[in-house]
């Protein structure tokens, strides 16, 4: 495809780019065939620039980044193309020069901070090694610099920190160490591959702030790879969108996110619910059909055509990446022929500035929320002072027995037909609470009543009839289905066990019906879970929960392992099922925008205690608890213009351990308005406004 080599001129094209990648092709020669993971990618990075690469899993974004420093391992190979870094051809560098490049001029930070540090070496050793290896510092100078850098990365007491081992640090802290290591040789380019995906929103916001500062202070160019448009919008000045191993759109962040010119970008933007644009009552998300294409066999013509809602006849031919205005290019026949994609988030009025819009929305939300409160039906689930403490091993033989306070006194009432969202950082006890409700765990104290029956300590036999009414959907679609059973067996097991169908015929037809309900073909019954994608597996998981015709479903992060478009499909499915079968949901998630989108009421959990309970609209319009406020403020919005203007309330530090809890209010150690009162007295959960409860001495004062 010679047209792919067409160079996109940057708006500030007078400067020579530090990195230019041209027509890069990285293929993997597997047993099944050739995977063309990166298939003709061209992009440039200028000095000090922040470039975002976005796309769903399998789009080739990570492989592109790894190719830049030739980190491709067997059976992968860079087949063709050119990578020019500051006048040097990376593809022909010998191993010595390549090593000087890696970690010297180009640094890389990976997604998983838990595995990218060597667990048996002290932090100091790992940092010093990197610097000494490149011959720029003596060991002594390197150590002093390591301490400086850790301080610069926002690590408290860096002198003590360098003497620690990686396991003594949390994920966020390790990512800071990784950044310190990356910056230790003053690189010209930092490649960050999903650096915040494994972190909580509040920590993510801290790391993103840090990246922005480092870019400004050191002038280091950054390539940020992410699936999250909000994260990209937060940092990047220019964005490259990848699909099926190709660049499909490129442009400055503001313009590209506000006015996408490729249907795939458009679909990505539409698939995520946005915190700043919420229409009460409007629950369906705009999704595109289908699943990501098979990398062994990309579709012919435009690779996006099979999923594209705007496809025309011309799309049978492969389109070129064409520049249509300086710095902006798209690989799409529709927009190249003057076609216009519908505005993103059609329901929101794009003209008015975000400030008044938020205010206008909040009054509407209140009205709706109050209506919801008024029409509440019967109580389905009632938790009273529920606690779950996990005993831990003693540190020494004579040591005090230690206890992890996963859930520590939660009161919650769920009414029939509503969706209650449960949010909080990891470790706040939200998953434990979900598992207590379906009685996978037995509570240490307190009572759980379901439909008026106390199930707190019911044994498995007495709870069995209730199992039909109370189900759960799990987070990881790869772990939640038994790999040795066909989908048909997975679905018919509970039907037969609970005697819901008589005879093989009836069971088979009910299985087909269930598959149909979740949008899978009847043929799926004979297949094993291995043959399905993540989204399809999650549908099977939902079908299994529906098999026993439950009325209440605990959904534990049902979409966090999925790509954004698949997320939107699953959200739509869940909303649709709720309407069809009058389901009640407890929806656990860490993504605030999603929780707000699906929930009627939201519970904010922190260290095992409820901080705030409120109708969704009220919670986001006027949060009472400082923690709620900071969570909302930390969640990124996929709109570069909005992201830059947003006022933020940054949380410092990390949640304290659930083993040694702070006295008084649990949030006081990170709270910007904490006083002595907060340290001495536990604030009770009080109804401050109708339906809005908060556990804070100074509710609404921030």
């Amino acid at each position: 495809m010679p047209d792919d080599a067409e160079i996109i001129k940057n708006s500030d094209s007078d400067s020579v780019p530090i990195l230019s990648v041209e027509d890069l092709r990285t293929h993997f020669f597997t047993d099944q065939g050739v995977v063309r993971a990166v298939d003709g990618v061209t992009f440039h990075v200028h000095a000090g620039e922040t470039l975002g690469i976005v796309g769903e899993s399998g789009s080739g974004k990570s492989i592109t980044a790894k190719s830049v420093i030739r980190l491709i391992e067997e059976p992968g190979r860079i087949v063709s193309g050119r990578i020019d870094f500051r006048g040097r051809d990376v593809l022909t560098l010998d191993h010595g020069a390549l090593r000087r490049l890696r970690g010297g001029e180009v640094a890389m930070v990976f997604q998983d901070p838990m595995t990218s540090l060597n667990p048996v070496l002290k932090i100091a050793r790992q940092l010093v090694e990197t610097m000494v290896e490149h011959g720029r510092f003596s060991p002594k100078a390197a150590l002093a610099r390591a301490v400086d850098l850790l301080g610069r990365m926002g690590i408290n007491a860096p002198k003590r920190a360098v003497e620690s081992y990686p396991h003594q640090f949390s994920g966020g802290m390790r990512q800071r160490v990784m950044l310190a290591m990356g910056f230790s040789n003053e690189p010209v380019l930092l490649i960050a591959d999903e650096p915040t995906t494994a972190l909580d929103v509040t920590i993510q916001a801290q790391i993103l702030d840090l990246l922005r500062e480092l870019n400004a202070d050191f002038g280091t160019a950054i390539i940020l790879i992410s699936h999250d448009l909000g994260v990209i919008a937060n940092i990047c000045s220019r964005i490259v969108v990848m699909y099926a191993g190709e660049v499909v759109e490129e442009g400055p962040a503001e313009k590209l996110l506000a006015d996408p010119k490729h249907p795939y970008t458009w679909a990505l933007l539409n698939a995520v619910p946005r915190l700043d644009r919420h229409t009460p009552g409007e629950k369906k998300l705009v999704t595109i059909e289908g699943t990501p294409p098979d990398p062994l066999n990309w579709p012919g013509g435009c690779r996006f055509r099979p999923r594209c809602p705007f496809a025309i006849d011309a799309c049978g031919e492969h389109p070129a990446l064409k520049e249509f205005e300086p710095g902006r290019a798209a690989r799409c026949w529709v927009t190249q022929q003057g076609g216009v994609l519908p505005a993103v988030g059609v329901v929101a009025d794009a003209q008015s500035s975000p400030q008044p819009r938020a205010a206008a929305r909040s009054t509407v939300s209140y009205a709706v929320a109050d209506a919801a409160v008024a029409t509440r039906g019967e109580v389905l689930l009632e938790l009273r002072d529920v606690k779950k403490h996990f005993p831990l091993a003693k540190t020494s033989f004579f040591g005090e027995p230690r206890v992890l306070h996963a859930v520590d006194g939660v009161d919650l009432t769920v009414f029939k037909g509503e969706t209650v969202g449960l949010v909080g950082e990891s470790g706040c006890g939200k998953s434990t609470l979900g598992r207590l409700i379906v009685r996978l765990h037995e509570p240490t104290a307190g009572s759980i009543a379901y439909g008026g029956v106390d199930i707190s300590h019911a044994n498995s036999a007495t709870i069995r009839p209730l199992r039909r009414r109370l189900q759960m959907i799990f987070q990881d679609p790869y772990a939640s289905l038994n790999p040795r059973m066909t989908v048909g067996q997975i679905l018919s097991g509970p039907l037969q066990f609970h005697g819901m169908t008589q005879g093989a015929q009836a069971t088979a037809s009910r299985v087909r019906e269930l598959l149909d309900v979740v949008g899978l073909p009847a043929l799926a019954a004979d297949r094993f879970p291995l043959e399905f994608s993540g989204g399809q597996r999650q549908r099977v998981s939902i079908a299994r929960a529906l098999a026993v015709s439950p009325e209440f479903i605990v959904a534990d992060e049902p979409i966090s392992a999925l790509d954004v478009n698949i997320q939107a499909q699953i959200i739509n499915l869940l909303i649709d099922l709720q309407q069809r079968f009058a389901l009640t949901y407890l929806f656990i998630a860490h993504d605030l925008a999603v929780v707000r989108h699906v929930s009627d009421r939201i519970v904010v959990l922190y260290l095992g205690k409820v901080m705030e309970i409120a109708p969704a609209g009220a919670l986001f319009a006027s949060p009472l608890h400082p923690y709620t406020k900071s969570l909302i403020s930390a969640a990124p919005i996929p709109d570069a213009a909005v992201e830059r203007k947003r006022e933020r309330l940054r949380l410092t530090g990390e949640p304290p351990s659930a083993i040694d809890l702070p006295s008084g209010c649990r949030f006081r150690t990170r709270c910007p308005i904490a006083t002595e009162l907060c340290a001495n007295e536990i604030p009770p959960l009080i109804e401050h406004r109708p339906g809005q409860w908060a556990a804070c001495h100074f509710a609404g004062k921030l």
């Binding site: 980190l71 759960m472 987070q475 509970p494 998981s541 929960a545």
Partner: protein, 289 residues
């Protein structure tokens, strides 16, 4: 960041059939050897030229000849016939020891891991207790106490054999029991026995099968060893270990000990190769290369 391995030169992608053959050639060879011995064990009465227990003092310690292909032993018995018949006892002993102890150990270990708490403590301390003793010495002691005989030796071996299966099964089940599909089964209301034996154990069985195959050779070897020490079979019965023992002083008449020794070697290696092959086949990491 400097510790990242350099990309290796990629060999030209071989055709998948050739790669399969290279990967599993030894396993196939091992499988052929094992099938051969199975056939021999089944057909021993048909293919043996002599009665293995027929004593003919007149033609004692004959070297390999046309009449006696592998020669005769100190009592003039045909070595070939004895080696062929010996496969029966070795295979039966090996299989019964490994299969019975694998089933018993797996059930015990799986229950321990699934139940946790006191049940686990009790069951695992019991396995530790058995593991404390040197296995061969313990088996010898038990076999000697029970008296000489094939069944008694098998029982003695079973007693020392099951703990390693219990330990492996426990660790495998521990990994599986916290998986979300197991939680889903709990939420659907299935009983414990159903969850453990229909959901958890089938997913934990892979490494156990590998261990069983690798262990078969080992069990045959140990059984032969006990027989060599005079604890295995009652004398006239043909058994490889006992035959090696009979020939160990006969340096001049090398054929008496050598051929049963080769038989032991081939069976043990055969099971090992097959076990390695199955392990590679079940392990996706090894499979990729």
């Amino acid at each position: 960041m400097t510790a990242v391995a350099l990309p290796q030169e990629v060999a030209a992608p071989a055709s998948s059939r050739r790669r399969w053959l290279r990967r599993y050639a030894l396993a196939v060879a091992g499988g052929v050897v094992i099938l051969f011995w199975f056939a021999v064990a089944l057909l021993a009465p048909v293919i043996s030229p002599f009665n293995p227990e027929f004593v003919d003092i007149a033609s004692r310690l004959q070297p390999p000849s046309y009449a006696h292909w592998l020669g005769t032993d100190a009592l003039g018995r045909d070595v070939l016939s004895r080696v062929l018949y010996g496969s029966r006892i070795s295979l039966i002993a090996g299989f019964s020891v490994v299969v019975i102890s694998a089933v018993f150990g797996t059930v015990l270990g799986a229950i321990a891991a699934y139940a946790r708490g006191r049940v686990e403590d009790l069951l695992m301390r019991l396995t530790d207790l058995v593991l404390c003793f040197p296995p061969i010495i313990l088996a010898m002691a038990i076999a000697a106490a029970l008296g000489i005989g094939t069944t008694n030796t098998i029982i003695a071996m079973l007693i020392v054999w099951w703990p390693k299966y219990a330990r492996l099964a426990r660790s495998l089940v521990l990994v599986q029991r916290s998986q979300e599909y197991v939680e889903a089964a709990h939420v659907l209301g299935f009983g414990h026995a159903h969850i453990l034996f229909r959901h958890v154990v089938p997913n934990a069985i892979g490494p156990l099968i590998v261990m069983v195959t690798l262990d078969l050779g080992n069990a045959i070897l140990v059984f032969a060893g006990l027989s060599f020490l005079g604890l295995g079979v009652v004398p006239p019965t043909p058994e490889w270990g006992a035959m090696v023992a009979e020939g160990r002083e006969l340096v001049q008449q090398w054929w008496v000990a050598t051929f049963p020794g080769i038989a032991i070697l081939s069976v043990v290696m055969g099971f090992n190769f097959v076990g390695d092959g199955i392990r590679d086949w079940l392990d996706p990491h090894a499979r990729r290369r």
